[in-house]
Amino acid sequence: MSIIRPYGDTTGDGMVQVSFTLPIKHSKVADGAALQLANKMGMEPAMVVHSKPMGDDFTFFVVYGQVNHLVDVDKVQVVERDFPLLTPKEANAVIKETLRRPLVVVGACIGTDAHTVGIDAILNIKGFAGEKGLEYYKEIEVVNLGAQVSVPSLVEAAVTRGADAVLVSQVVTQRDAHLLNTREMSAAFREAYPAGERPLLVAGGPRFDESMTTELGVDRIFGRGTTPAEVASYLVHRTTAKEPAA
């Protein structure tokens, strides 16, 4: 069935739970304002089941109700894996055969972001979720620049090392830091490289929308729960396809 609705305890009941704060003193009017918001979100009927004053200026609400929206599953657009998932062995073999030299990957947390656990999970031998990281791949040369790397030094490292792919991680998202930094990064690469020659640009982090590649000027985005093999397979797929086997 491609048209679905939220399910509370009966098919089609459309029930959802919402919580939020309004900058308004706790009162009946505040409850009414919460209800108005719920209605605007498409919840009808909606019940304000909890409203709690937080000081004189704010009230916190929990609202339950039925949304009248339908979800059309056929219209869902997701970035599905469009490349074969390779084992390290297979990935190494393809690189050896087609590139005939190690694939060079430069990775970093850019901007002021210092959350390296995510990019390390992808790059370090130790890996993630039981899979070894890219350093484990014999045919991949990994340059992990670590945390808080400025965009100019990233570009410089990519150029010096002859990077085939650049991997950047962004975990801090407050005030859209991750979007600003990623855009700054891709712009710098566009400037630094002749058209068509820049390395593959890959961004990753738990709060990215994977479909925003075009807006951010990167080739691919990986979200929460990404595993090293997915990234390796993607890199192999994209870098070896460009250079057809001799």
Binding site: G8, D9, T10, V49
Partner: protein, 518 residues
């Protein structure tokens, strides 16, 4: 983990409970009810309903009653009449409903013959109870049992048996050891058991033989899939208590809500009616190997959980007495209690531990049923989720037998599928992370917890003493609002018209067999 309470004090409490309970048992023995008689007919194999939904057992009992009264029981008049109707109970019921039969009370040899036939017919039903019990034991041996205590007890309550089934299966897969199908509001006051698969209960699904069968079959399937036998629970409560017990026994339900006073207090059912119905229902449960769950938790939804803690203990002692009298064994006594102290009360969690340990200490061999917070749950689902976590912790620390899983949406809706999933996750975290914390938990012999437990036990003993001093004992206490603050006089309440004092000629093959008189 047990509290260091004086065993003599506990023995004293038990003796007082026996003294309170005994006159009630005597009274129960002297009466019968329409539900008792209908249950007998159900055990004899009479099922089904007329096109309007009135069960044949109701038609038949009503017809007998109209002709000869209820006081002799229906067995003799029915089996006397049956010979002339091809020995077909359904046909007899149909014709009786159409006014085509006149019933008589047989006497002498005729009565003996009728009794013999009745006994044989009811014996088939009792054999079905036995067979279900054997089948349950066989399945548990073959498939495996719940992996650990407490057993995780989850509720489904959509109102539609066909929505309940997948939800129950999902809950079992997520870790439930016991599934309870909550009944529709109002069923407890129906003086008949609805028929067939049902889809429109309010806040619960009707208890019917067919719904029992469907759900048990679905859970058998899931039990095999999971490699552990998932138990099924329903309610032997309300005006049809013994009938539902019979249906549950025959359809291999595993546990039943069955309290000696719940119907009186919370459904305004006549006390005599309840005590009479209760006795047969418990005899059936005893035979069918069903675990009963008592309803002391309910008191704390209307009375304060600290002030009324001793009424819970008192009621547990009474429930134990009545249960044992009816033939139930310790392992079948899911005595209820609950985590219902106002969370704003200082040391509320330690008070809960004291109450829970008291029960465990008095009833060490009973699988106590630990009920989650409901009354102080609010629309703040986050706070509720936390409270449920502490409820789970108290359950683990005090070694409860059956853990009814609390829902964060308690104050909002009947549980959603996600509520159950989140609730089970809560239980799992607490059990895995802190399940063995009991090892490090040693309330001082004269500390806050032990003293509180002693205080509650003392109050319970006082209360039992006071009840004994009333002219009409427990009936007066119930009339006074002692339990759950509800006042229920013995001569009022629903279903009183369905009660009769047994005559000299009274004969009921079901109780005869169940009491082992032959």
């Amino acid at each position: 983990m047990r509290l260091d309470l004086d065993p003599r004090t506990i023995a004293q409490a038990r003796a007082l409970a026996a003294k309170v309970g005994d006159p009630i048992v005597e009274m129960a023995k002297k009466h019968t009810t329409v539900a008792v008689e209908r249950a007998t007919l159900r055990l004899a194999g009479l099922a089904g309903a007329d096109p309007d939904g009135t069960p044949w057992v109701n038609h038949l009992v009503d017809a007998v009653r109209a002709d000869v009264g209820l006081e002799h029981g229906v067995a003799l008049p029915v089996w006397q009449a049956l010979a002339a109707h091809d020995n077909d109970l359904s046909r007899l019921a149909e014709e009786a409903a159409a006014g085509q039969v006149t019933f008589h009370l047989p006497e002498g040899a005729e009565a003996e013959l009728a009794a013999k036939h009745a006994r044989e017919a009811v014996g088939v039903g009792i054999a079905r109870l036995d067979a279900s019990r054997v089948e349950r034991e066989r399945m548990i041996a073959e498939i495996g049992d719940a992996p650990r205590k407490p057993w995780i007890y989850l509720i489904v309550a959509t109102g539609d048996i066909y929505e309940d089934i997948p939800q129950a299966q999902a809950a079992a897969r997520e870790g439930a050891d016991i599934i309870a199908v909550i009944r529709s509001t109002g069923q407890s006051l129906l003086d008949y058991v609805p028929e067939g698969a049902t889809r429109e209960g309010f806040a619960g699904t009707y208890a019917t033989q067919e719904n029992f069968r469907l759900m048990r079959a679905a859970l058998d399937e899931t039990s095999r899939e999971l490699g552990r036998y998932v138990r099924l629970t329903n309610y032997a409560s309300g005006l049809c208590m013994p009938e539902i017990a019979a249906l549950a026994g025959m359809e291999r339900l595993d546990m039943m809500l069955n309290d000696s006073m719940y119907g009186i207090l919370f459904r305004d059912i006549n006390p005599v009616r309840t005590f009479v119905d209760q006795r047969l229902s418990r005899q059936i449960h005893a035979r069918a190997g069903i675990i009963i769950n008592t309803g002391e938790d309910n008191y704390l939804t209307t009375a304060d959980a600290v002030e009324a803690a001793h009424t819970v203990t008192t009621s547990q002692l009474l429930n134990e007495y009545f249960a044992k009298e009816a033939g139930l064994e310790d392992w079948q006594l899911g005595l209820g209690h609950a985590f219902e102290i106002n969370p704003d009360v200082p040391d509320s969690f330690r008070l809960e531990l004291a109450h829970a340990l008291l029960a465990k200490t008095i009833f060490p061999d009973a699988p106590l049923k630990w009920m989650p917070p409901t009354r102080h749950m609010t629309g703040d689902i986050f706070k509720g989720y936390l409270l449920d976590g502490f409820f789970n912790l108290a359950g683990a620390m005090t070694d409860q037998g059956i853990l009814l899983v609390g829902m964060m949406t308690e104050a909002v809706v009947t549980p959603w599928i996600s509520d159950r999933d989140l609730a089970l996750q809560n239980v799992r975290y607490v059990m895995d992370a802190a399940g063995r914390l009991g090892e490090d938990f040693h309330p001082a012999p004269d500390g806050f917890i032990a003293n509180r437990a002693r205080e509650v036990l003392g109050e319970s003993i006082d209360l039992l003493g006071k009840i004994i001093d009333e002219p009409n004992g427990l009936l007066d206490a119930i009339a006074d609002g002692t339990f759950g603050l509800m006042k229920r006089p013995a001569d009022a309440g629903k279903g009183l018209e369905g009660v009769a004092v047994k005559s000299e000629a009274y004969y009921n093959p079901a109780s005869t067999i169940l009491e082992g008189e032959e």
